[in-house]
């Protein structure tokens, strides 16, 4: 029975033995597993406790949770979550302001009011397709364009968004600037998208070095 469940990778220094499986905390996934009969397999398998940011709440959002973790400094998660929540509020306010300023219905319908949708699309728009990695050949370091994993691409996008949010004058708040940057990235404009395009341009300029990846 235990062998039928795939063992999952665990971090070093984990409190749990390696045969403990990760919990399924999302309601829709649970329902799916019950339907397919997979839940029965997990019934008597030792399971880890859910982490404190893993809830079955309707407001749970994987990507925004990751964003909170990237915003966090020195383990101050409460502050990081507060900042991201304030960002979402600011996005909502800015978009609502635009919505009420628009005069005709067509323009109003074009404006996205859901801040979560805006954050998701903004991160998607900032994701690079390639990256440059320094490879040494004949004593010279070449910046070689190499493919990028989905996870790293998402990390870079979020990192650039957060860095753009930090680049501001002293009188504006981080969450206000972050909201502006997210809306810009959602509309495929702004500093984050520009940075992505610059990386793409550099990759294309260095396309002659591409073969150094394997030779």
């Amino acid at each position: 029975m235990y062998n039928s469940v795939p063992l999952q990778q665990h971090a070093l220094m984990s409190q749990y033995p390696s045969y403990y499986v990760k919990p399924v905390f999302k309601k829709d996934v649970q329902e799916e597993m019950i339907k397919s009969g997979e839940a029965q397999k997990l019934a008597h398998v030792p399971t880890r406790a859910a982490l404190n940011d893993q809830t079955s709440s309707v407001y749970h959002d994987d990507i925004i949770n990751v964003l909170i973790n990237y915003v966090m400094k020195d383990g101050r998660k409460v502050l990081a979550r507060e900042l991201v929540e304030k960002t979402l509020e600011k996005i909502k306010r800015l978009q609502l302001e635009r919505y009420h300023k628009a005069t005709n219905i067509e323009d109003k319908n074009k404006i996205e009011l859901n801040p979560r949708v805006i954050v998701h699309k903004a991160i998607l728009n900032g994701k690079p397709l390639l990256q440059l990695s320094p490879i040494k050949r004949g004593g010279v370091k070449y910046q070689v364009p190499v493919p990028i994993t989905d996870k790293r691409s998402q990390f870079l996008s979020m990192k650039w968004i957060i860095e753009a949010g930090n680049e501001k004058d002293r009188n504006t708040r981080f969450y206000d600037q972050l909201a502006v940057e997210l809306i810009d990235a959602f509309n495929n404009t702004g500093r984050v998208v520009k940075r992505k395009q610059e990386l793409h341009k550099q990759c294309e300029a260095n396309r002659a070095y591409a073969h150094y990846r394997w030779s």
């Binding site: 397709l129 493919p147 994993t149 989905d150 395009q197 793409h200």
Partner: protein, 97 residues
């Protein structure tokens, strides 16, 4: 005075320099379209998708191959073998003593 003579080591250039028309002094009736490359990603979404799928498949295949090599499982038709695979192969066909 010494500076001026140093400048004139190749001879005093004669002023005024006679004008030569190397290229015709008029504008062309067309422009090159080299500058406006599109940055719109939705136009080549199919290519991007296939590229990403290719890389994903490659990483999966590579990790599978590395795992097999680490365990010493022999793959038929494999030309580059790890030390574990080689030892297994050699133990199957030992030297006659």
């Amino acid at each position: 005075m010494r500076v001026a003579s140093a400048l004139w080591t190749r001879g005093n250039p004669k002023e005024p320099v006679p004008f030569q028309e190397l290229l015709p002094l008029k504008l062309r009736n067309s422009v090159s379209g080299k500058g406006d490359k599109t940055t719109e990603q939705s136009l080549c979404s199919k290519e991007i998708e296939s590229f990403q799928k290719c890389y994903k498949d490659h990483t999966v295949r590579k990790s599978l191959k590395e795992a097999q090599e680490a365990k010493g499982i022999l793959i038929p038709g494999e030309k580059k073998l790890s030390h574990k695979q080689l030892n297994k192969l050699l133990s199957m066909f030992p030297n006659i003593k």
